[in-house]
């Protein structure tokens, strides 16, 4: 394995390193602008990478992803407006510290925690990816069918406020995934004599529309209640080494939580930051300080959120299952390069995978410098209203959709996606289950039908094979635990104080 890693690093080249660095800087700028998320940035930049070598293009997107998740903390701390949803927990203590004139300390803690969480999770990814892929090679249709089903249900039920709407969103997405030619019989489904639909609905314009354009429509309809952002002029002293070391136990705990949550499909940085924050508060010696400017609070939220970035790559690379929207887009980038994520990726494209792992470590080191520079120089970015940035997002999105195939059809799909995404959002229907189902449904259907054809239509095939039965049992147990926990929380909340 070490030979492969060294070979992959030697093959990387300057352009891959530079593009990852460029992506990181761009990601930090994007993440610092409230309203622009990692998902939007990665989706609208994806078409650009189709024409670049794999390590250059995908390395660039990984840089953007990492930079954006980190930089969400800058406006969260400075103006109490999380740049990305994952920075929401950071705002609680970060902005309190800014009000106390300790903004620099808070920003340094956020950067240190991000680096810690990211590096720890990258090491986990490096250590578990290849062994897990070796196990995944033994999977056949029934195991994959169970795995896809479990991922879809998990994504649908946990990524939204209302689980039922999440399930509805996933089913609707799976139906959209059925459009085109049936992979087993080549029969046309929902094509309606439109030749462009034979190949299915293009995922990239759909994602760009559903995220970027729906966000523009949301911003247009939001009430004008934005308070003018004022950044505190007093930034205070920097973070002391003693203060950072004091937070080490919290960092280890929160990073482990973030890595675990990130590796599960559907649970991203937005959830990890709150879980890590909540547990850190429970375990802290000074829980009363949380929410009032606690360094521990920032450490927990930031390390938890950033640890999910490398961790979400685990299910994506090994099983081809996207854990969130960014990894769904990344799968699109891999496929556009002629590379299909899955267990064989580690044998057929080992130098690409390990090259990307090396870029993850490189961007982690680069984030120290980019992060310190951003703290000093990017305060102007947070002052740009997102409403000024949104028209730029629309122009880049239209150009990106058109560039995929120089086809107006892609632009039309993007526009439909934008309106559909807006309609879903105003009615409280989550978009991620829909997108991930569009991507996973064709594979799930194929595996399900192949399994049933193996067993002559007998559904017990899924419980009669040891691996699929264990996966199914684990999945059912997990769902029961979630349901039990939700019921317990509801009961506890209903009890009189």
């Amino acid at each position: 394995m070490f030979d492969t890693i060294i070979h992959a690093i030697s093959e990387l080249g300057y352009w891959a390193v530079l593009s990852a660095l460029g992506g990181l800087v761009l990601g930090v700028i994007v993440g610092a602008v409230p309203g622009l998320t990692a998902s939007i940035a990665v989706a609208i930049l994806l078409p650009l990478t189709f024409f670049l070598p794999a390590t250059v293009g995908i390395g660039f997107l990984l840089g953007v992803y990492k930079g954006a998740v980190y930089a969400g903390s800058i406006p969260a701390i400075l103006i109490n407006t999380p740049g990305t949803p994952a920075a929401a927990a950071t705002a609680m203590d970060g902005f309190a510290m800014t009000q106390q004139g300790k903004a620099k300390k808070a920003l340094h803690m956020a950067l240190f925690s991000s680096l810690f969480g990211d590096l720890f999770a990258t090491i986990v990814l490096l250590s578990v990816a290849a062994p897990l892929a070796a196990i995944a090679i033994q999977f056949s249709a029934p195991e994959y069918a169970v795995l896809f089903l479990a991922s879809l249900v998990l994504i649908a039920t946990v990524s939204a406020g209302d689980s039922l709407k999440g399930v509805l969103s996933a089913i609707a997405g799976a139906l959209v995934g059925c459009i085109g030619l049936d992979s087993l019989t080549v029969a046309q489904r929902f094509v309606f004599d439109v030749p462009e639909l034979l190949g299915g609905v293009p995922l990239v314009p759909l994602i760009v529309g559903m995220f970027a354009l729906s966000e523009v429509l949301i911003q247009i309809t939001s009430p004008l209640s934005e308070a003018s952002a004022q950044i505190s002029r007093t930034v205070g002293p920097p973070l002391q080494r003693k203060e950072a070391l004091k937070c080490l136990p919290t960092l280890f705990r929160s990073t482990s939580i973030g890595t675990f949550i990130g590796a599960l499909p559907g649970l991203g940085a937005e959830i990890a930051c709150w879980v890590a924050y909540g547990i850190a508060k429970q375990r802290s010696k000074n829980p009363q300080e949380f929410g009032k400017g606690s360094l521990e609070g920032i450490a927990a939220a930031e390390s938890g959120a950033n640890a999910t970035v490398p961790a979400t790559l685990i299910p994506m690379l090994i099983f081809g299952i996207p854990g969130d929207v960014v990894t769904a887009v990344l799968i699109g980038a891999f496929i556009a390069q002629g590379v299909t994520p899955g267990p064989l990726l580690f044998t057929n494209h080992a130098s690409l995978v390990y090259g990307l792992f090396a870029l993850l470590v490189f961007t982690n080191i680069a984030l120290i410098f980019v992060g310190l520079l951003s703290i000093r120089s990017f305060s102007w970015v947070v002052r740009i209203p997102s409403s000024v940035m949104m028209p730029a997002v629309v122009v880049i999105a239209v150009a990106g959709a058109y560039s995929i195939g120089s086809d107006p059809y892609d632009v039309v799909i993007m526009l439909i996606g934008g309106v559909l995404g807006y309609a879903m959002r105003i009615n409280g229907v989550p978009i991620p289950p829909f997108i991930i189902a569009v991507l996973l449904a064709p594979q799930f259907e194929k595996m399900l039908r192949q399994s049933l054809s193996l067993s002559n239509g007998d559904f017990t095939i899924f419980v009669s094979r040891p691996i699929s039965a264990s996966l199914l049992a684990g999945f059912v147990l997990f769902i029961l635990l979630l349901v039990g926990k939700a019921a317990w929380s509801k009961r506890r909340a209903a009890l009189p104080l």
Partner: protein, 164 residues
């Protein structure tokens, strides 16, 4: 985001049930197989999804109609209401821009889109403050974006009627 959860739930339930019914009709009308529920038939999976969608939509409808109005009402009279009129204008602007790119060209359509969306997105004070920036952005951004896609992707943006 949903201003009134109950109304939103009703809309979602209705849309799900209608979609499921339409999917079933389309499958039976357009896919020609002997046994529609045979796992190997191309109709098997869409029908399975449609039945699930119908069941979940029905469950949501029953849950919404049977629950106490107050339980699901997160209507806050004090909170500013979303400006849906502007949303319709925004959607129209996006559609016009999407088609305009192919009729009047990427540059002019983008310039108009930046100004139009900027006007819709900003309040009156901010429009005055940022109008200069929006004008510059409307001119510079399409050129930068077109150049970027030309250089990196080899894709030329549409010139519209004048240039094909």
């Amino acid at each position: 985001m949903a201003h009134n959860k109950k109304a939103a739930d009703r809309r979602v339930a209705l849309a799900s049930i209608l979609t499921a019914v339409v999917v079933v009709i389309v499958v039976f009308q357009t896919i020609n197989v002997v046994d529609y529920h045979d796992p190997m038939a191309p109709s098997f999976f869409p029908l399975l999804l449609a039945y699930l969608l119908f069941a979940c939509g029905l469950f949501l409808a029953i849950r919404t109609w049977s629950s106490h109005a107050a339980e699901l009402q997160d209507h806050d009279d004090e909170a500013p209401r979303p400006r849906f009129g502007r949303g319709v204008l925004g959607a129209l602007a996006l559609v016009l821009y999407g088609f305009g790119v192919f009729y009047i060209g990427f540059w002019l359509a983008s310039f108009l889109a930046v100004l139009g969306l900027g006007w819709l997105l900003l309040d009156r004070d901010a429009t005055r403050r940022f109008m200069g920036l929006m004008l510059v952005m409307g001119i510079v951004l399409p050129w930068v974006v077109a150049l970027m896609f030309d250089v990196f992707a080899g894709v030329k943006m549409p010139l519209g009627w004048g240039g094909g």
